[in-house]
């Protein structure tokens, strides 16, 4: 790997991060755009949850993670603290793997 590659990727990744902040900046957004942008975390985080739970690379895969994240969902529903949800998710997944 070359240093050029490392810096080029660093600059690109940072440019992406800055881009979104700059596009919105301090501007007053039209209400319709405001209503949409505020939904970004819900849409993307839900996507990350399903991707991390049900896939490996480009393959869909149902395994112990689904059980662990299912247990985490129950913990979140029961309003347990975030730390507990994380630990329950990981521990359940590890337990299912150990048994299987």
């Amino acid at each position: 790997m070359s240093w050029g590659f490392v810096f080029a990727l660093g600059v690109t990744a940072f440019a992406f991060k800055v881009l979104g902040l700059v596009l919105v900046g301090d501007r007053e957004m039209p209400p319709v755009l405001d209503r949409c942008l505020v939904l970004i975390p819900a849409a993307l985080i839900a996507a990350i949850v399903v991707k991390d739970t049900f896939s490996i690379g480009q393959h869909l895969q149902l395994d112990a993670r689904a059980v662990g994240v299912g247990a985490a969902a129950i913990a979140a529903w029961r309003k347990l603290p975030l730390v507990a949800v994380i630990v329950i998710g990981a521990a359940t997944t590890a337990a299912v793997r150990a048994v299987a």
Binding site: M1, S2, F5, V6, A8, L9, G10, V11, T12, A13, F14, F16, K17, V18, G20, L21, V22, V24, G25, V32, R35, L37, L39, I40, P41, A42, A43, L44, I45, A46, A47, I48, V49, V50, K51, D52, T53, S55, G57, H59, L60, R65, V69, A72, A75, A76, P81, L82, V83, V85, I86, V87, I88, G89, A90, A91, T92, T93, A94, R97
Partner: protein
């Protein structure tokens, strides 16, 4: 940045919970960073390059993708393309976070570097502005710290704990789910999340890695219709 300073932070129960969650999340992320360090060095990068990449790029999925492609003998161009595609979603997060990240240019540039999945999710899960801003910074800084320490450890030691052993590969989706949960109480974010999840899972087998999450942003179109207004006044 964090209103009221550290002493107030410890009196604020909700922020203490965010803080504890950040440390837990940071630990899980750190284990992935160790395995990134190992993967990177074994793909031919030096320890220095590996650490500088984590400091500068600071987007786990991109970094893993880049070193995996290079390690498998892929071209620099294809490694770069895939990594850039995975980094693109941070732009989308920036659109959502911009109204909460005011301040001087220097502060905003640091905020930009910390605009990633974890910080955006933790901020979104809070229900007032002060906690949103604090959660963004605490999460961003804690993940930055753990990510870079983990990278260094992996690059130097060259042997990783397999994140699968302790179920740590499920720790991250569990954390994201917990952060998503409070958003699901209202109809529009819930519908948005449902659309995002369905679009993502549908596209995973058919599109390059990174694209499904970008396309999940279609879910925000739920916000287009004008919400039913208050009752018409006489």
């Amino acid at each position: 940045m964090i209103p009221g300073g550290v002493s107030q932070l410890w009196r604020d129960e909700r922020l203490r919970a965010v803080f504890a969650a950040c440390v837990t999340l940071g630990f899980a992320v750190g284990v992935f960073a160790v395995s990134f360090g190992v993967t990177s060095v074994s793909a031919g990068a030096s320890v220095g390059q590996t650490c500088v990449m984590s400091l500068l790029v600071f987007t786990g999925a991109s970094q893993f993708s880049a070193v995996s492609v290079l390690g498998a003998g892929g071209s620099a161009a294809s490694a770069f393309g895939g990594a850039a595609l995975l980094a693109a979603r941070n732009s989308v997060y920036g659109l959502a976070m911009a109204p909460h990240l005011k301040g001087r240019l220097g502060t905003r540039l640091v905020a930009a570097q910390l605009t990633i999945d974890e910080s955006t999710a933790m901020a979104a899960a809070q229900d007032d502005e002060a906690h949103r801003v604090a959660a963004f910074w605490i999460t961003g800084l804690s993940v930055y710290l753990f990510w870079n320490i983990g990278t260094l450890v992996g690059a130097l030691l060259g042997s990783a704990i397999d994140p699968k052993v302790y179920g740590l590969d499920a720790a991250l989706p569990a954390a994201f789910l917990a952060m998503l949960w409070p958003l699901l109480r209202e109809r529009r974010p819930a519908l948005s999340a449902l659309i995002g999840a369905v679009v993502c899972v549908t596209l995973i087998p058919f599109t390059p890695v990174g694209v499904p999450i970008l396309c999940a942003a279609l879910g925000i179109l739920v916000g287009v219709p004008t919400p039913a207004g208050p009752a018409v006044r006489p």
